[in-house]
Symmetry: C2
Subunit: 317 residues, 2 copies
């Protein structure tokens, strides 16, 4: 598993110590929220959130808002985005019947399907309660739109499973719904807290797309010790990703049933050069994202956002 | 299954034709929303909403708002409440592995668990998008609070399953979370649209509690042709309800494994008089709800709300 520490450290150096303080406030609030629920919700929701991750979406909210935006509102927006993300992960773990996430047992594996479905619902509702305290309806509009897109993206992925005819366009559309829209929302929510009209959505969206593409590359390239999973788990689930599409192999995914077969398919994909091509496209999206940063951004804010963009690439380097 | 038509007709007579028009607008919007999503979401979300039901929660929103509240906002609030309700039902069907709801196949049974989880998430997100268009953050605060409570109530139900030590207080707390809070939210959302400070929440909450109590009585009393289910399905699921609690039988629910055993337990509960006592309590709550109606309500609005309260009781008469 790749740690967040290096890029985050660089971002903090670039942006300033206020980012550290606000990230700490986000973390504190993310612990308070499940604790305020009755048991057993508190335990399940808490373990989901504690499992953590890179807090990349909250970081985008903070940086898009900038130092001068009021802390309370920014922190709530960052927390809300992360809660939606966490809700999605709990439900994903049910869909994928995943035992582990980031090396920890999932709610699904420890408490069962029912607990996981309802824990996700709870986290989702809490995201909107948190955001409502900001007293700005645009915040809710932005986050609910992104949440609808997330669910549609998940549905599209399930609907397209095992379908080798899924092309690049449909794949990118799915990534946009499933991943990029929440990155876009994170940036826009940050800007709204600063009282600026959203201008960083396009940046966030491309970063999110690149993030998903590189994640899909990693599933094929491995190494497994980075991902904590066998190579080719997406393919075993019938999920058609860009490396598979670009490889152009005549393979029926339904015939890929064992981890060994999946690894062999990963090798075959890698041999076509499809991984390099996929990475190249992700890097191009990151470059596009950087170009989209408005010229009038405060220099330190700009530097920090550029570092986040680079961090998405480096995470998979 | 009990139809909504009679009480609704009476309510309409009492309140006026505007209620019919607004209910029709709610219905139209409830069809538009899933249709706007891409396939297959459109199909699954649409079938869930089309399965209908009594639209009791939207009716409460309309009546609590009154005729003079602006139609667009009221309809959106009513739609949002029903979408949250529908989202919960889709997820419930997964939890209960239910093949039918209101006589129609569930998303779970036709499209599978994955589709049902994500369809619920989608409906939930759409509820908040719909409400955000009302441009009033209090709306979001009210609905998200109720949604958190719903999820907590569901979790409590799962956590307490098979636990014969669940007493009346804990049962009522669960009903409050699982059912009453959304009724309360429906009333408050209606009032917010009228620009009035919420005063009908207590009424809504008690109506919701009575509704849940009577639903739980019906599971024990039957007849099955009213519910579309065998008697005692709650007991078979390990769900401890008021009739079981009040009956005070020394029965381990884990030993109740077949529909026949469940029916026998229902007969034993009925023989103790616990059904009458449960009904009596529900009726007392409805009476309390009526007493809580503010004296300064417009008379037609008051009459209509009283009829809804009676309708909850009559539905189970």
């Amino acid at each position: 598993m790749s740690g967040p520490s290096e890029p985050v450290t660089q971002v903090i150096d670039a942006a300033g110590a206020w980012v550290v303080r606000r990230l700490a406030s986000v973390e504190r609030r993310l612990r308070e929220i499940p604790a305020a629920a009755g048991d057993p919700v508190a335990e399940w929701a808490g373990s989901t959130i504690a499992a953590g991750g890179k807090r990349l979406r909250p970081l985008l909210v903070l940086l898009a808002a900038g130092e001068s935006a009021p802390e309370d509102g920014v922190v709530r927006a960052a927390v809300a985005v992360e809660l939606v993300h966490a809700a999605t992960l709990v439900h994903d773990d049910v869909l994928d019947a995943a035992d582990l996430r980031r090396g920890r047992p999932t709610v699904w594996s420890t408490a069962g399907r029912e607990a996981a479905i309802v824990t996700g619902d709870h986290l989702f509702a809490r995201a909107f309660s948190e955001l409502a305290a900001n007293d700005r309806i645009e915040d809710v509009a932005v986050l609910s739109r992104a949440s609808s897109a997330l669910a549609e993206g998940e549905l599209l992925q399930r609907a397209d499973a095992w379908n080798a005819k899924v092309g690049e366009e449909r794949y990118l559309h799915r990534c946009e719904l499933k991943t990029a829209r929440l990155f876009e929302a994170a940036c826009e929510l940050g800007e709204l807290q600063a009282g600026r009209p959203p201008s960083l959505g396009g940046f966030g969206r491309r970063i999110g797309l690149a993030f998903q593409l590189l994640d899909d590359v990693l599933d094929v390239s491995g190494p497994a010790e980075r991902t904590g999973k066998h190579r080719g788990t997406d393919l075993l689930d019938g999920t058609v990703t860009l490396p598979f599409i670009l490889a152009g192999l005549e393979v029926d995914l339904r015939g890929v049933r064992t981890p060994e077969q999946a690894e062999a398919l990963c090798d075959a994909i890698a041999a076509t050069g499809a991984l390099e091509e996929s990475r190249r496209r992700a890097h191009a999206m990151v470059a596009e994202a950087k170009d989209l940063l408005p010229a009038d951004l405060e220099p330190r804010q700009r530097d920090a956002l550029l570092l986040v963009a680079d961090g998405v690439v480096e995470r998979y380097a």
